[in-house]
């Protein structure tokens, strides 16, 4: 039976109806047509479904949409400001950190959560923060470089 929930997605407050078995991932892709969020394994192993909930990365395939009630969800579509890309998005392009691109939304969102908390992370910290996302192209080196390059410069 569908139930209405209220939540914020990419800064927009909305009301949606969800079934108990609807995952946050299904709501985002099938309900809201925000297809930047990917489903890889659907079992919490690959991390490509990662979105930010209240600023922290979660596997949206393992979270019921009902539990997103009252929370703020950020998907990859929510990062750019109009035509201006988020510094991490631009950095991934500049560093060539994208091969097939399937893991990029999750990598970028995981990196955003990290940089929001720790603007100047060590390489080891970056690796730990990204450890929940698999890149089957093996672009890890460039992905790490892209996160380092996107770290705000000391002023």
């Amino acid at each position: 039976m569908k139930k209405p929930i209220e939540l914020t997605v990419n800064d927009e407050l909305m009301q949606v109806e969800v079934e108990p078995q609807t995952t946050l991932l299904e709501l985002i892709r099938d309900g809201l047509h925000l297809t930047g969020t990917k489903e890889g394994c659907g079992m919490g192993d690959c991390g490509t479904c990662i979105v930010l909930v209240d600023g922290k990365p979660v596997n949206s395939c393992l979270m019921l949409a009902a539990d997103a009630r009252g929370r703020s969800v950020t998907t990859i579509e929510g990062l750019a400001k109009g035509a201006e890309l988020h510094p991490l998005q631009q950095s991934f392009i500049d560093q060539g950190a994208v091969q097939c691109g399937f893991c990029s939304p999750a990598m970028i969102l995981s990196a955003k959560a990290l940089l929001d908390e720790d603007p100047h992370p060590t390489e080891e910290t970056i690796k730990r923060a990204l450890s929940g996302v698999l890149c089957r192209c093996g672009s890890y080196k460039k992905i790490i470089a892209a996160v380092q390059a996107a770290s705000p410069k000391e002023s």
Partner: protein, 294 residues
């Protein structure tokens, strides 16, 4: 897309209501906390609960606090990420923050709960060995009231525990650590992120005034049907000093007290050898954390 089959679903607002629903539904009901394990097994069709009782609308179950009587009380819905970040945990029980950092990945830790990690009762549970050496207990509530179950008698087999039907874990409580004591958790996986423990060993050492071991505790993950204690090694360490060869002998004894399985992650012989290596490292690290504390 991997979908969950439709299920009956409730979001009780109080513990009492949750227990009443569970009693009414019978043994095929399941409680939902973080969902990182249950929802996977539901997608796989391994479990098919008749009713899912989501505990997350019950207020106060995610508190990490120090009760007036001392120690630490960790609400069942506390996430592993919250344990990793808690200043209270870092100050008094750094081994728990350390163990939290091994579980899954940052995004899994954001969802997964301590109550879920204990209640799932997997022999590989990363939080359990550290909780066992810290003498933690499970607080469970059911229709007939509240009770406390020492964690080292809680586990009954892979996925099985001492909870009665319709009983809910509400908190994990840990007593104050002895003044001169240290603890550490060391674990091995196939890779550093996103894998369950191939072997995990937690050690705690409490010293007497003369610098001898007053009490030692060693607990191991993925070494048998339940999280195991190495009681022989603990007894051997008691009353003696901290010389390297004594720690090594204790580690050798601990390896002999395991009954690991062979699976896709490792064979039993390899696991047993790694217990010896890890138990020594955990003991040596426990000595270090004690020295730092003083």
């Amino acid at each position: 897309m991997k979908r969950l089959k439709p299920f009956a679903y409730r979001e009780p607002k109080t513990l009492r209501e949750a227990i009443r629903i569970l009693v009414g539904e019978g043994p095929r009901a399941a409680t939902l906390a973080g969902g990182t394990d249950l929802l996977v097994r539901m997608k796989q069709g391994v479990v098919t609960p008749s009713l899912l009782v989501n505990l997350k609308r019950i207020k106060g179950l995610d508190r990490i606090q120090r009760p007036k009587a001392g120690g630490l009380s960790i609400g069942t819905l506390s996430t592993i990420a919250a344990l990793e970040r808690s200043a209270l945990v870092a100050k008094r029980y750094p081994v728990l923050a350390q163990a939290a950092g091994f579980l899954g990945s940052p995004s899994i830790r954001q969802l997964a709960t301590l109550g879920g990690n204990v209640g799932r009762s997997s022999p590989a549970a990363d939080m359990v060995p550290s909780l066992v050496v810290l003498k933690a207990s499970v607080i469970a509530e059911g229709a007939s009231g509240k009770r406390e179950i020492p964690l080292d008698t809680f586990f009954k087999g892979p996925g099985q525990n001492a909870l009665a039907p319709a009983e809910i874990i509400t908190a994990i409580v840990v007593p104050d650590a002895a003044p001169s004591s240290g603890a550490a958790y060391v674990r091995l996986g196939r890779r550093e992120g996103m894998d369950c423990a191939l072997v995990g060993v937690a050690a705690s050492l409490t010293l007497d005034g003369a610098g001898s071991v007053a009490e030692a505790r060693l607990a191991m993950a993925s070494c048998g049907p339940v999280p195991l204690r190495a009681r022989g090694a603990e007894a051997f360490l008691s009353g003696g000093g901290l010389a390297e060869e004594r720690l090594r002998e204790a580690a050798r004894l601990a390896a002999g007290e395991t009954s690991p399985i062979s699976d896709m992650r490792a064979c039993a012989d390899y696991r047993r050898e790694m217990v010896e290596v890890l138990a020594y490292r955990a003991l040596a690290a426990a000595v270090q954390t004690d020295r730092k504390a003083r």
